[in-house]
Amino acid sequence: MERYSGFSLFKHAFSHHENWQKAWHSPAPKPSYDVVIVGGGGHGLATAYYLAKQHGITRVAVLEKGYLGGGNTGRNTTIVRSNYLWDEAARLYDHSLSLWQGLSQELNYNVMFSQRGVLNVGHNLQDMRDIERRVNANRLNGIDAEVLDTKAVKELVPIINDSPNIRYPVHGASWQASGGVARHDAVAWGYARAANSLGVDLIQQCEVTGIRRQAGAVVGVETNLGFIAAAKVACVVAGSSGVMAAHADIRLPLESYPLQALVSEPIKPVLDTVVMSNAVHAYVSQSDKGDLVIGAGIDTYNGYGQRGSFQIIEHTVSAICELFPVFSRVRMNRSWGGVVDISPDACPIISKTMIKGLYFNCGWGTGGFKATPGSGHVFAHTIAKDQAHPIAAPFNLDRFNTGHLIDEHGAAAVAH
């Protein structure tokens, strides 16, 4: 792999950038692999990378039905934080956050992980109780977190409406300074490039249409490019997990819903942090290009359409205008949707299944981008060892049988 650096850029400029190597190759699939990863989103690519890097398993193919990173990885609002309430979730997301911190260097691809801080705003007494609870739990778990009062919020975000007389006044917020945003596409591409350089095959436009089994164990996958043999198949297909499960004649505790986001036209920077409000359902940050990146709520109905209902956009934008009246004259440039896989406890499933050699990593719902490195890391372990990584263990499928859920939304901790 050719190393990227300021120097390499400088060097290539003199040959008019005619000699850059491919970031990754697009080979035809081999007849068989040790591990087939279905889904070329951030999680799938990270899984492939860590399989190769940490476990030395390089006979790996990532099969992607569209283009790499074209799923939710390419359509999320890029918020990264780890201030989750429950110990299990906090451990998982914080593991991820620690991997984020050296990721650009590790991948030699600048994923622009920008720790500009994340605010979760509270609007009523119960919100504030929940915030206190979460921040305390975070601190004792070793995660940086603070409770801010209205004044401190205003200092961080001068344009926020801090009037006490509005319908949803800002009572305060939780603040994770180490949270922030990252460049979503770069995460997928960085992992793709690094995985490919370790020998992983990245096969795009390859849709898995069946999972072949023999005697209760996986033997490979059917695809539009033909059968590909593999003793281990790992599904990391986010919103399509239900469809994938059906290929193996199993069901998952998941439903897929449209989730929308939108961007404004680029404006001169006015917002340095990420501001999230669960109560009014709006999340906003400003990108390095100047556009406001805004996350909306999910549609209430199941859907695979990668688009949602207009009233969701209307509601989100009115919430944004309520929090930030100065945005009223800004204009929406584009809106889009993704398909998120919602689990009953708002926590992911990182698990073996009853079928030998079949693994699922899904259920990240509205908030799995931030987990990309950590998720890939623990999932690779789970696949390689056929045994859950300790951090992943609580996120097994069996929890739905035993009742040992990790109820992140029960505690009003926001997703994203």
């Binding site: 505790p253 859907g303 695979y304």
Partner: protein, 99 residues
């Protein structure tokens, strides 16, 4: 932005009048105590979640307050039919085919 035909009000109404309440035709087990944890979990949490034909329940929350079923394509969002609870859909996967 769906427009849904309420089989009770007998006209098309805007999505905002309704609330969605998940997959249809999931009967509550008559004797839950007889089930294993896994069987119970299957009823509680596990869903078909298909891409394509989906039978689902809607509640006409801001209208007649009736629950009813709909057959909808989760890929195109086209609604093929709505029908009262207790009835079977006219269109099923086998007829309509998966998309």
């Amino acid at each position: 932005m769906l427009q849904i035909y309420c089989p009770y009000c007998q006209e098309l109404r805007e999505e905002t009048e309704f609330s969605y309440s998940g997959e249809a035709h999931i009967a509550r087990p008559l004797e839950p105590q007889q089930l294993t944890d896994a069987q119970w979990a299957d009823y509680l949490f596990f869903r078909t979640n298909p891409r394509g034909i989906h039978h689902e329940m809607w509640y006409h929350a801001s209208g007649c307050r009736r629950y009813f079923n709909a057959t909808r394509n989760t890929q195109t969002y086209e609604i093929y039919e709505t029908y009262p609870l207790g009835q079977q859909p006219a269109l099923t996967c086998d007829i309509g085919g998966k998309r």
